[in-house]
Every structure is written in structure tokens, then in C-alpha cells.
């Protein structure tokens, strides 16, 4: 192994170019990654980071430029070839088979034909060594996004790994989990493996990475040593101006209760799902309530019960604007003014092969898009165009397919589509997952403005920084239970972090604390 270090760079890219029919994704990119180095690739959505990584991983062929691996020129023919070389990648959109178990998914990429018990044992070994807990027998579709990410990382680590590419890995992790991931990555790098770390979170890059290459609009705008930079100086390299901030005035907190959940208990159909136990919450008009927690603790189940995708037998459990809705379907709840933004953008919130206009119709059809059962295509296109303009969605126009948009731009469109319906209650899950700084700030600002206009907003997110930035009160979900909510001004990241393990005060104390009683005041 050591003999290879004659030529210092493990991976070097020279003048990589890649164009798609509509856009130039990479324009003369140079990049050098040293052995054992954690190298950040920093840039906004659409800057060309993902395309560059796909080129390295053999998913996409560059139009021009050279890839040098240990100093020798190579063509990475396919992801299988990349894995043979020792390159592993954890995608932003995970590439796991949902109907298979963790062990089966891992076994698929391992060379030879290893038995599942053997694979499960190896997964156990890696999990323990790097602190990545996961059940090898669980079916992937039942795992949360955070858990799926662990599976992806383990899958890479089981191979003879020399370069690990991580695409926006912490978007879904709690501060503690992100810290653990960093320890894992430092440990991996310490053993000589290089890490390419794609992100737009400047604090993380400062804390973790040795070097950074910054991309903007398909070009390299600079390389730097993050430890010597400030977040602001890197932000300027990345977006070409100063970092925007959310404007978040204090909530009045005296609005009417718009969304009330009153002792919701649900047994999950899925053996790997989480049962909900006696969930109680209330969101008032003009406030944002945040639900923190590591994914897989019942958030998906709660969100499906709130949106109406799963109905609840107990009629009294959920109220929207004073009306019992627990047994109503999603369409009926939408008519009462409840809008919902799920975390899966493609395939749930939007249909990949349909145009943005047709995707606008999916939930916003009550906005005069249908007359006598017929579609009013002018109204639909007009709505989509306004949404694109008002929410600054970068795309080819209302007839662009949803799958042609980057994650951040599609999310801006989806948020815009729901906000433009003037919901009385908006339920949002992971609003800025995998979204770049600029888009994230504008999405958060839209939610705050919706609140200012009097809507009741419930945000479920794993990103604590985000919750503290936009919420008025925060509750924590753990093991299918929900804590009481605390004002953000009266708590901090550490306390919420402790609550995430299920240890909030009233569990020990027994009697319900004062703010909970107040928030549960019946309608």
C-alpha cells in the first residue's frame, strides 16, 4: 500500500467538463485529494457537485478532462469499476432496495457470493467498530433516512475502501449523530482512506475537513483550508455574496388553536415501524411548532396520521380548526385548509415524470384549476409560473419535468405550491433536507411569512439548527412518544439533545408540567 505514495495525490481531476442539453454542469474542474485527507467540495445546489461526484464514481462520463487515480490516468467505466478501485459513495438519494433487508442490500455489492449470516456478522463488526448501529435483518423500507444512511456507509466500509464520497451526509442527523459521524469519518481517514465530503454547511466543513474546493456555477472559485477561514469568507466563495439570514420576529402566541392532537395512539402495521403512544400537541394560528428527534422514532407514522394518508379509528384524536378529522381522508383534510409537505419529494410530493404544471395540479387543484371536471390548463400553467417566479425556482419553465430539477429547487416549488394555497395549517417534514444554503434560507423565510400571515405551522425536522432558527416552540419525539413543547427562548440545543433520547422531565416526574396542560387546553 505504502508503495503507492510515491505520487502523492490519491485522486486528481484535471479540467473535467460535462454538459447536459440544457446546462453546463462542470466547466474545467480541477481537484486533488490526498491519502487520508477529508476534502470538502463546497457549493450551492446546481453548482455541479453531484455531477462531479457521479463522474468520479463512474455513473456519468465526462465530456473532457482527465481522472488520475494514484497518479495514473483511468476511465471509471461504471460504479462497479469504481468499487473495484476502492471508491465508495453514499448518495444524497440513497441507492438501496427498499424491499430487501439491510444484510441483503449489503450482500448485493460485495464481491463473490457471501452468505447472509456471514454478511450480518460483518455488518455487526463494522457497526461496532465505527459506532453505526443498525439491525441487519430490518427491511430497508421500514428504516428512517438516518438509518438508511448508516447502511450506505457500512456498505462502503465493508469493501477495501480508499476513497469515500459522502453527499450531504449530515442533512438528516442530530448534532450528536453528526458528531458521531464525524468521529467515524475521522477514524476512516485516520486509517488512510480519503474522504470527499460534499456539503454546504460551513460549520461542519470547518470542524471536519482538511481542505476544501469551492464550486460556483460549474466552476472552481477557490480552494482553501477551512480551519483558517471564517464561515463568512467561505460563504462568499460559495455564493458570491454574504450569507442571507432568516428574519424571525417573536410570535404573538395568542392565536386560536388550529391543529390539536388529543391522545393519539396508533399501532403501526409495519413490523419495523414505531407505534404512537398518547401523542398530544396543539399548534396555534401564528406560531411554528417544531418537532425534533432522530428519524425513525414515529415521525413518519405521526405525519401520515396528520395528513390523512393513514386514517385513525379514534374520531376525537385529531382536530383541524375545531373539526374532528381523524377518520377523514387526505383530500377532505386538505379542503379544511390543512396542507402537508412530506420529506420524500420525488414520488410522493411530486411525480418525477410529470411537468411542474401537472405537479401543481396534484394538490392545488382547488385553486380554480378545474371547472366542471375539466382541467383549465391556462390556470394551471399560470399557477406554476407564479410559483416558479415567486419562490425563485430555477428550472426550464412550467413544463419542465419534476425530476429535472435539483433537490433544492424542487423543494422550493413544492413549498411554494402549498404556501400559495394559503393553508390554515401547514405540516412540513424535513423542509430543507439536502437543500443548499440559499434555498434553505428562502424556504425557511417562506414558512415564517406564512406564520406571520396567521397560519399554524408544524415542522418536523432532524436539523436542530433549523428548528431553533424558525420555531416558536419545540417538542421532541422519541420512541413513538412526544414531549411537551418548550419555548425556544427557554431551551437550548443541549437540552433538546438530551430529550431526544426520551428523557424529558415529566417522564420521571409523573405529573404533567404546566406548559403541556396549557397547550392541551381543549377546543
Amino acid at each position: 500500500m505504502a508503495a503507492r505514495n510515491d505520487n502523492p495525490a490519491r485522486l486528481e481531476l484535471r479540467g473535467i467538463c460535462k454538459s447536459y442539453p440544457a446546462v453546463v454542469a462542470n466547466d474545467g474542474i480541477d481537484l486533488r485529494v490526498m491519502p487520508g485527507e477529508i476534502h470538502a467540495v463546497l457549493g450551492e445546489n446546481g453548482a455541479g457537485k453531484s455531477t462531479l461526484m457521479k463522474i468520479i464514481y463512474g455513473v456519468v462520463k465526462p465530456d473532457a478532462g482527465e481522472i488520475l487515480w494514484h497518479g495514473a490516468r483511468i476511465d471509471v467505466a461504471s460504479p462497479a469499476h469504481a468499487r473495484e478501485l476502492g471508491i465508495g459513495m453514499v448518495f444524497q438519494h440513497f441507492s438501496l432496495f427498499e424491499t430487501l433487508t439491510v444484510a441483503e442490500n449489503v450482500a448485493l455489492v460485495l464481491p463473490g457470493n457471501p452468505g447472509l449470516d456471514d454478511v450480518a456478522a460483518r455488518i455487526g463488526g463494522v457497526s461496532e467498530r465505527y459506532g453505526l448501529t443498525v439491525d441487519p435483518r430490518a427491511l430497508v423500507h421500514s428504516l428512517s433516512i438516518g438509518e438508511r444512511q448508516r447502511v450506505e456507509i457500512i456498505r462502503c466500509l465493508l469493501q477495501d475502501l480508499q476513497l469515500l464520497i459522502m453527499d450531504e451526509p449530515t442533512s438528516v442527523l442530530t448534532p450528536q449523530a453528526a458528531t458521531r459521524l464525524f468521529e467515524t469519518l475521522r477514524q476512516v481517514a485516520g486509517e488512510g482512506c480519503s474522504v470527499l465530503y460534499i456539503s454546504h454547511k460551513l460549520d461542519e466543513i470547518k470542524a471536519l475537513c482538511h481542505r476544501a474546493t469551492v464550486l460556483r456555477a460549474a466552476k472552481v472559485t477557490g480552494t482553501c483550508e477551512p480551519q483558517r477561514e471564517t464561515a463568512a469568507s467561505m460563504a462568499r466563495l460559495m455564493i458570491g455574496r454574504d450569507l442571507p439570514k432568516c428574519n424571525h420576529p417573536e410570535a404573538a402566541g395568542d392565536g386560536e388553536e388550529r391543529l390539536v392532537v388529543n391522545g393519539l395512539s396508533l399501532v403501526c402495521d409495519d413490523p419495523f415501524g414505531t407505534d404512537l403512544a398518547d401523542i398530544r400537541l396543539a399548534v396555534r394560528s401564528g406560531e411554528i411548532l417544531g418537532i425534533a428527534g432522530i428519524s425513525g422514532n414515529g415521525q413518519q407514522e405521526l405525519l401520515a396520521a396528520l395528513s390523512g394518508e393513514r386514517s385513525t379509528p379514534d374520531d376525537d384524536a385529531i382536530h383541524v380548526c375545531g373539526i374532528a378529522v381523524a377518520r377523514l381522508g387526505a383530500a377532505a383534510r386538505r379542503r379544511l385548509g390543512l396542507c402537508f409537505i412530506p420529506e420524500e419529494r420525488l414520488g410522493r410530493a411530486a411525480i418525477p415524470s410529470m411537468s411542474l404544471a401537472d405537479n401543481a395540479l396534484l394538490t392545488a387543484h382547488a385553486q380554480r384549476m378545474v371547472a366542471l371536471g375539466m382541467l383549465r390548463s391556462d390556470a394551471i400553467t399560470d399557477f406554476a409560473r407564479r410559483c416558479i417566479d415567486d419562490f425563485d425556482v430555477k428550472c426550464a419553465g412550467p413544463h419542465a419535468e419534476a425530476k429535472s430539477l435539483s433537490g433544492g429547487n424542487l423543494q422550493k416549488f413544492i413549498v411554494g405550491r402549498e404556501v400559495m394555497q394559503h393553508p390554515k395549517v401547514l405540516v412540513v417534514s424535513q423542509p430543507t433536507w439536502g437543500v443548499d444554503v440559499g434555498a434553505a434560507v428562502s424556504i425557511r423565510q417562506s414558512l415564517i411569512e406564512l406564520r406571520n400571515a396567521g397560519a399554524a405551522v408544524l415542522v418536523v425536522s432532524e436539523d436542530l439548527e433549523e428548528l431553533f432558527e424558525i420555531c416558536d416552540r419545540i417538542a421532541v419525539m422519541a420512541n413513538g412518544r412526544l414531549s411537551h413543547a418548550k419555548r425556544v427562548t427557554e431551551t437550548d440545543v443541549e437540552e433538546i439533545g438530551v430529550w431526544m433520547s426520551g428523557l424529558w422531565p415529566d417522564q420521571v416526574a409523573g405529573p404533567v408540567s404546566a406548559p403541556l396542560v396549557e397547550s392541551l387546553h381543549a377546543t
Binding site: G71, E84, G329, G347, V370, S377
Partner: protein, 363 residues
């Protein structure tokens, strides 16, 4: 070495339109080889296949007469297929439509009514829908597979019409032939072109093309069925009912097939026979897919399929071509059409096993 189909990120619009032409050219090449190998003169065979059947008014009339039920049924099936509802029992629904229309036509109470034909049309549509409602109900109530149920009901429908024409509805003056009495003139579609069999039922098919295009492309219900077909999670998220989509998809297919059944018994047949359709209900499945589930595409696909049937008959008669060779030629055209279609959406990548040490050898 290994071949793999990969979805194309961007489909070529030009190739989308060119692919039927390429398929036609490949079929001609294959046909040339096939006919030459059989010792037939290829140009003469092509003439017998594609020109002779339609170089007269009568021939064209036959082309439209055969294409009409294919197109009609395929339009109805496309509604279901777009939302992943697999109704493959259109043949049975057609038979039930024919039985229901026959029941009205043979009832003396209706004999002189000016509305006899209209009543038969309504009865036929309802009959087809009723037959399609059985798999729809079993699917939505018990999650029974509609493919199996609708297919099996086809055989039940066949036995039902057999029982009727061998038993209660057998023509008393028919010397025990298993067939019903001939329908009165008022129970038949008027002939459109004198001395041909082309009748007014093709106008209903034309109307159905327009209606289905409006439904699929312009109506909210059509949009919902598309969403259910593309992503059930998105449909659940939007609150679109999957059960309703099953009903819409099945009933549209049943109504179209039932109407096609009326077109047969009130058209070229003029009575109920043990065999009402030469497999229109099954061929229409191919027509629907060759037409890419698009109403206009289905019209072309139906005409093509109709021409292939007429051409096969013509080539057998005039050239003495074996029936199997005619069927092979028809199959080749479909193979190339669907193959070209796949290649518009996918590309073939040749994957060579990369030797483990190859990239390092350069070091």
C-alpha cells in the same frame, strides 16, 4: 460480456416519431428474407400483404370495419392501463355486450320501436360494464387480482353465449343450427357505403376517440388515474382514491368492449353466433400498447393491426403462403415496433468485465 438496458436521460423526439418507420423498414427486410426463403417473390408478397387488401373501396371498408372494434376496445382499456389496472377480459365484456344487445333485439316487445338500436347500444354498454364490474368489485373489496378474474370471466361469457344459442335463443327456423334468429333491419347499424359491410358503428368509434382523448388529456378524473398509475404514494398524498380509479379503469374498458360487441352483432353478424369476435378483445391489448396508450396512436395501431389481418388472409389466398408464415410476418412487425419503442426509452450498454488488476497495471 453482458448487455444491459439503461433508461435514457433524454429521449430523442425525432427518434420517437421515426421509430415506427424504422420498425417498418426492418420488417420489410425480414419479410424479404422470409418470403425469399419460402420461394415466393418478395415484392409480390408485399403487394399481397399491404396493397391488395386495400386497393378497392370494398377493401378499405373492410379495413375500417375490422379496425373499429380494435380501436374502440383499446381506447377503453388504455384508461385502465394508464392507472395500472390490467383488464385483460375485454373479450368477455364484448361477449356480454353482444348478449345484452341481442336480448333487446330479439325481444318482440321492442320489435318496431324506432329506438331499438339505441336501446341495444345502451344495453350493450351496460352489459360490458356489468361484466367488468365483477373484477372491479372483487379487486376493491377483497384485493383479488383483476388480471385473473377478468380473464377467467371471458370463458364464462363464452359458455354463456354458447348456452343461449344452443338453447333458449336458438333460431326456431334455423334447422337446429346453433345461432339466434336474424335481427330485424331496425336492429342493425345502417350501412355507410353501399355494397360494403362498413356501417355506422365506426362513427361511434370516432366519437369514442374524441371522448377518450378529452378524458385522458383534459379531465381531472383522467389526471387522477394517471397519477395513480405513476405513483401510488403521490396519489395517497394527494388524497386520490385508488378504489375509484379501479372502478373507472375497469368500467371504461367494459363499456368500450360492450359497445364493440353491439357493433359486431348489429353489424356484420346480424345475429348471435357461438363465436362473436375473432379475438378482438385480446388483440386490442396489443393495439393499446402499440398505440402507446394514446388515443391517436391507438387509431393508427388499430388500422395497422387490421391491415395485418387482411393482408395475412390475402397472402394466404393469392400466394398460397402458409398461415404460419403470415402469422410470423405479423409477429415480426410487432416485435420490431415494440423493440424500437424500447430503444427510444432505453439504451443498450455493453458491460465488459473489468479485470481486477487492469487499472493498477498502469502504475
Amino acid at each position: 460480456m453482458q448487455l444491459r438496458l439503461e433508461p435514457r436521460a433524454l429521449q430523442s423526439r425525432a427518434m420517437r416519431y421515426a421509430s415506427p418507420l424504422i420498425a417498418a423498414a426492418l420488417t420489410l427486410v425480414m419479410g424479404f428474407i422470409l418470403f425469399a426463403a419460402l420461394g415466393k417473390n418478395p415484392p409480390a408478397a408485399f403487394y399481397a400483404f399491404f396493397i391488395a387488401p386495400i386497393n378497392s373501396v370494398g377493401g378499405l371498408a373492410e379495413l375500417f370495419l375490422k379496425a373499429s372494434p380494435l380501436v374502440l376496445i383499446a381506447l377503453g382499456l388504455a384508461v385502465g392501463f394508464r392507472s395500472n389496472i390490467w383488464n385483460i377480459g375485454a373479450e368477455g365484456q364484448l361477449t356480454l355486450g353482444a348478449i345484452a344487445a341481442g336480448w333487446v333485439a330479439l325481444d318482440p316487445a321492442f320489435a318496431d320501436s324506432p329506438l331499438l338500436l339505441a336501446a341495444m347500444i345502451v344495453a350493450g354498454i351496460l352489459g360490458g360494464m356489468a361484466w367488468a364490474a365483477i373484477p372491479a368489485f372483487l379487486r376493491t373489496r377483497f384485493n383479488a387480482n383483476e388480471i385473473l378474474v377478468s380473464l377467467m370471466l371471458t370463458y364464462v361469457a363464452q359458455l354463456l353465449v354458447n348456452w343461449l344459442v344452443f338453447g333458449p335463443w336458438r333460431d326456431p327456423q334455423g334447422f337446429n343450427t346453433p345461432q339466434s334468429a336474424l335481427f330485424a333491419d331496425g336492429a342493425l347499424f345502417p350501412i355507410l357505403i353501399a355494397n360494403t359491410r362498413l356501417n355506422a358503428s365506426v362513427l361511434l368509434t370516432l366519437a369514442a376517440v374524441v371522448v377518450s382523448w378529452v378524458f385522458l388529456e383534459k379531465s381531472f378524473l383522467g389526471y387522477k388515474t394517471r397519477v395513480v398509475g405513476l405513483s401510488s404514494a403521490a396519489a395517497r398524498y394527494a388524497g386520490f382514491s385508488e378504489k375509484r380509479t379501479v372502478w373507472v379503469g375497469m368500467l371504461a374498458g367494459g363499456a368500450a368492449a360492450g359497445l364493440a360487441g353491439v357493433g359486431e352483432v348489429a353489424g356484420p353478424l346480424g345475429q348471435l353466433l357461438p363465436t362473436i369476435s375473432p379475438g378482438y378483445g385480446f388483440t386490442a391489448i396489443i393495439v393499446a400498447f402499440v398505440g402507446r396508450l394514446d388515443p391517436v396512436g391507438i387509431v393508427f395501431a388499430g388500422l395497422l393491426m387490421s391491415l395485418l389481418y387482411l393482408g395475412g388472409d390475402s397472402a394466404q389466398i393469392s400466394m398460397g403462403l402458409p398461415a404460419a408464415a403470415a402469422a410470423l410476418f405479423q409477429g415480426a412487425l410487432l416485435f420490431f415496433l415494440l423493440g424500437a419503442d424500447v430503444l427510444v426509452n432505453f439504451r443498450v450498454r455493453v458491460i465488459r468485465a473489468v479485470p481486477l488488476d487492469q487499472p493498477r497495471a498502469a502504475l
